[in-house]
Amino acid sequence: MAFLTLESLTKTFGNQTTIHGIDLAVERGEFISFLGPSGCGKTTTLRMIAGFETPTSGTIKIDGKDVTDLRPNQRNIGMVFQAYALFPNMTVADNIAFGLKVAKKSSAEITKRVKEMLELIKLPDVGARYPYQLSGGQQQRVALARALAIQPKILLLDEPLSALDAKIRISLREEIRAVQRALGITTIYVTHDQEEALSMSDRICVMNDGRIEQLGTPFEIYNYPTTRFVASFVGTLNILNGQVLDSTSGRLGIDDQEIFTARELGGASTGDTLSLALRPEALSIGHANGGSNNLNGTIDEVHFLGSVVRIRVRFGSNIVSLDTFNRPHSAPPERGQPVTVNFTREDILVLDRPAI
């Protein structure tokens, strides 16, 4: 039995429905990310779990108990906000102790717990400081400690790292994950940064327009997207339009060239246009890779990104990006140069097949 379940959860603001019936089952101790573009309803869903928004219909169950009608302060949920939201009039220690005081814990217990939490977030000496005396990263760690001090059933984080700069973001996401693992707390993490979601989560829930597009492990989401939206939102994906030439042998026409898929194109008939996805890292220049598909094109653009060189190649009306590693002793190719792009049959992902 799942620890947190959402059953056909919907939310309507005025006459505009923003969440269209979400079903989700989160296991105890699991780290799930809500990933999706701005305005897709990640925050709204999270706020319904926290109790700040009332669902228009549907139920929310935590640990087998229906909490749909409970007020936020009765749900025992830890929440971390993008804007830290530390109480500016209280010291760090008082911030962490706030929830414990509300719960009427003894002062000895509170002192002990505050100390534990400060050690957990690796800031043992800041207890007497005020929030404005801490850096953004430190404030967010304190906010995490404050949320966890009350030993909540579920931890909710709404883009906790998006106000921080890139370096801290990476170290802090590892830290959040480590703390989450150590406590084994069921966690929902909202983000629109796919790298964050891929690197932290047990499972990712990709959302679009108030619906769950796909739910799966980072590996599944990245390698086997089931919809065109997921494929294009997660990772830098190349999408080609191919004309079915022979569905049994998987022969497809890309403008005036031909490629083959690994499996037959069940359901598609000759002449249909299919969307094909190719990951940049699956493509290589020249024939060295030994894949059986080759496409001839010209180099459109070369982006030198440091260790990686991203090259954009144009074939007629289609454009793909591919990544090569930087080699100090050979200069990257030039714009306008003709090249052959090579990939295997298995690398082609056929998206939105026509209905059978």
Binding site: N73, M79, F87, V102, Y130, R146
Partner: protein
């Protein structure tokens, strides 16, 4: 250089406009004893038991009005900001009404509503009238109090702080008193000093409700004496400016305030 002259002229004219009457009043208040400057008028005024009694009375009413005002305005402004932002224009309009409606109209309204033969005969007893006067002062100070508190609330992230406290299990009264109020302390203080300054000098309401407040005392002295009113005017001026100074002190010391 030339561009600087215009503003300076304006400032100097303004200063003269304010300072000359003040200096003249002060100078006059020192001339009670013939042929020498002395603080005789001040000695008489401060030694007058009626001065002490009326000032104490007004100060007490002011404190009561401040407490009532804070308890009324802080939750109202908080709820409007958090839950009913669409009502903001309406609430702002209501809080501005006391600036538009003359005090004399207000007090006649009160007398009509709360006289001894009405449903709520507050004017029947002394305590009742004191209460009525306090409420009247809360109303008079409402525009200033509401604006100060509203500005204070806008400066903090009310919604997120509230939600953070809620998710930590906090109830509404605790959120209001332990999270919101301490963070708008500076704003509440400036509202409080403005209220104090208004109440200390107010004449119409206190006079028509027949309470021994400082305003009517000022008027009484002014009508019957020569030098004491000047001294009183200077004293009242100092009290008002002390209030303003305190607002500046607390308002400017935001960092200090946040520190504790």
């Amino acid at each position: 250089m030339r561009a600087r002259i215009g503003p300076w002229i304006a400032i100097i004219v303004g200063m003269i406009y304010f300072l000359v009457p003040l200096i003249a009043t002060f100078e006059f208040s020192l001339r009670m004893k013939r042929g020498e400057y002395s603080f005789e008028a001040y000695r008489i005024v401060l030694g007058d038991p009626n001065f002490q009694a009326s000032f104490t009375y007004s100060a007490l009413i002011a404190v009561a009005a401040i407490i009532f005002g804070v308890l009324l305005v802080v939750p109202t402004a908080y709820v409007v900001q958090l839950k009913l932002p669409r009502l903001r224009p309406l609430v702002e309009f209501i809080t501005l009404l006391p600036l538009v409606i003359p005090a004399i109209v207000l007090v006649f309204g009160y007398l009509r509503m709360y006289n001894s033969s009405s449903w709520i005969p507050l004017t029947n007893s002394v305590r009742g009238t004191d209460f009525l006067l306090t409420c009247a002062y809360v109303t008079l100070a409402l525009p200033y109090m509401y604006r100060a508190v509203d500005t204070g609330l806008r400066a903090i992230d009310v919604r997120t702080l509230t939600e953070a406290a809620q998710s930590l299990g906090s109830s509404w009264p605790r959120i209001l008193f332990q999270v919101i109020l301490p963070n708008v302390r500076v704003a509440v203080l400036s509202g409080a000093f403005l209220t104090f300054a208004i109440v200390i000098g107010e004449f119409t309401m206190a006079s028509l409700l027949n309470r021994p407040a400082f305003g009517p005392y000022l008027q009484l002295i002014g009508a019957n004496r020569a030098y004491e009113p000047a001294a009183l005017a200077i004293i009242a001026f100092i009290i008002t400016w002390a209030c303003m100074g305190l607002i500046q002190l607390f308002g400017g010391g935001r960092q200090n305030a946040a520190r504790r």
